[in-house]
Symmetry: C2
Subunit: 338 residues, 2 copies
């Protein structure tokens, strides 16, 4: 059983998972080799995954068979497990609990060599629908406080399988980074009675040169203080705290701006590895005036080293105004039909 | 001029540095190739670096010539610059200031292919002395609030030059991570009137299986909630808040335990890349009852991916009790003469 442990000084939780690697020799600095298909995530290989928990089959058809656009299965090597009780215990100064939660894989396309930014917008909207449906379902479990949706594209960004996929990890604790955003948002709201992300959207729309794209419902922008070169955030233009509260209709313009943003990154930077993370309000307090859901995309272009790990400061050699300009002026992505 | 910018939500500062890379094509996911010597850091090549700010020449000799054991020079491509005023300014919601600070390189040995853990203990003590002397000197500049000492070993850990070196970055702001440790330490102290790291040292010494080494003055341990496999901390056994307050005498047992810890890591994991970070009290409040300086060593064995970047949670497949056991039972390092 994995275990959740809390650092007694800073309160950071870690997942101690013993099921993936045990011996020192199992830690190999060599990246995993990504293999050509067909793989366990390919259409026709459904029997090789755990039983699906969600799928979109536009033409219908039985579960765990072919004919799907997007499909969600439990992770075979989960970081957290759905069985059991949290059973929080102390050990002197320290706190731990059982690693209860869920870890699922969203297979984004039936073919092996798809890439998220090359999917048609309607297909990408189905992937976003998978995120929403799984969050809504996992929220029914009272032990779950948060669902983090993320994507690792490329082995340098942490992917161990080539087939296009995202992941959901449902945790019994609201993660530290979301907590920090909640605290920052609340502090601003208490003083100004406004959502800080709404203020950011307003200020960026009015100028400053950091907007990448706007489509009426969403905005893609380079944040003022990005940790990484070409870091890009996508936010709903109007106040929305919970991603899972989005209507199915609203997922289409979101898919459109996400697709266009990723395409422009690709045409500007090449098919670079990246991480994509969804920050939404905690499940048990999902309608908040002081939190605004958003996607964060961080291309993997620089190395995080001792200074960053030691300070929490990041050194970013690309001013966001220049990054946004490059992405705005990139036109390759625009050609793709919606 | 580099610029410091603050994220308006979470308060994280980033350094926007435009002097290293500008065009999208300058960001190459390929790691830098480490080159064989002689390099600019080798003995005999002193004229190729900026003028030294400190050096230890046991036999004497003029500055910027050969005969040194350890040598400190300004970084030729500094993340922060020593010239100018901070000049903090606002831009709507946002805050920025000039990137004033210092960035220095500690060249750890005159020969090209040295590795920190293979240096004799007396030589490593000279490197630690360089850290201390530079912190004490940089502290005289009233604009500087903090000095982060760190080392990136191996290109996967962010090193761009092979020759053994550490770095110091002096910042006009106390870094977020140190602030979080200060806040956690203060919270514990307010309730218990004890330093939390002193409590950790006491609890670990009494059992739990996470001690790697103890030598009377220092302890090396696997922390209870490590972010990374084989993450190891070294702390003074007695309460000390500021590294630069250590006597020269005390640096020898510190060099001994650091050398032995790194050697055991090497013999357990191979010559793995790692980051080493020094957390010391802020310069302007260096004598604190609630802070305890420490070294953190994080081998680069796993990839940080979307889940970690999105949550601040880390997934660690190596329980610290097992990591400490492997390092305790490793004996190769022990053979080295002190």
């Amino acid at each position: 059983m994995p275990e959740l442990r809390r650092d007694p000084v800073v309160g950071r939780w870690v997942i101690i998972s013993t099921e993936r690697a045990r011996r020192p020799s199992d830690f190999n600095s060599q990246p995993p080799k990504l293999r050509p298909g067909p793989c366990v995530f390919c259409e026709g290989q459904e029997a090789r995954t755990p039983e699906e928990v969600w799928a979109l089959r536009p033409e219908g058809g039985p579960a765990n068979g072919p004919g799907w656009l997007a499909r969600v299965v439990p992770n075979r090597f989960p970081a957290l497990r759905i069985e059991g009780d949290l059973d929080p215990t102390g050990e002197g100064l320290y706190d731990r609990m059982n690693g209860v939660g869920a870890h699922e894989v969203v297979i984004e396309a039936p073919v092996h060599d798809a890439r998220m930014e090359r999917l048609p917008v309607s297909h990408l909207a189905a992937v976003l629908l998978a995120y929403r449906e799984r969050i809504l379902d996992l929220a029914k479990d009272p032990r779950i406080e948060y669902v983090m949706v993320f994507k690792n594209q490329g082995e340098a960004a942490g992917a161990s399988l080539e087939h296009a996929h995202s992941q959901l990890i449902a945790t019994p604790i609201v993660p530290m980074m979301v907590d920090e955003e909640l605290a920052g948002g609340l502090q601003h709201f208490r003083i100004k009675h406004r959502c800080i992300w709404c203020d950011i959207v307003r200020q960026e729309s009015q100028g400053g040169g950091r907007v990448v794209l706007e489509n009426g419902s969403f905005i893609a922008l380079a944040p003022f203080a990005p940790r990484f070169p070409f870091e890009t955030w996508i936010l709903p233009s109007d106040h929305r705290s919970a991603f899972e509260g989005m209507s199915e209709q609203a997922l289409t313009p979101l898919a459109a701006i996400l697709s266009e943003t990723l395409s422009r990154m690709s045409s500007t930077l090449g098919e670079t590895p990246y991480n994509l993370m969804l920050h939404s309000a905690p499940l048990r307090a999902s309608r908040l005036d002081h939190f605004h859901w958003h996607l964060e995309i961080i291309p993997k272009l620089t190395r995080v080293a001792g200074f960053e790990w030691g300070t929490g400061f990041f050194i970013n050699p690309m001013p966001p105004e220049q990054a946004a300009k490059h992405l705005r002026e990139s036109t390759v992505g625009v050609k793709k039909a919606p």
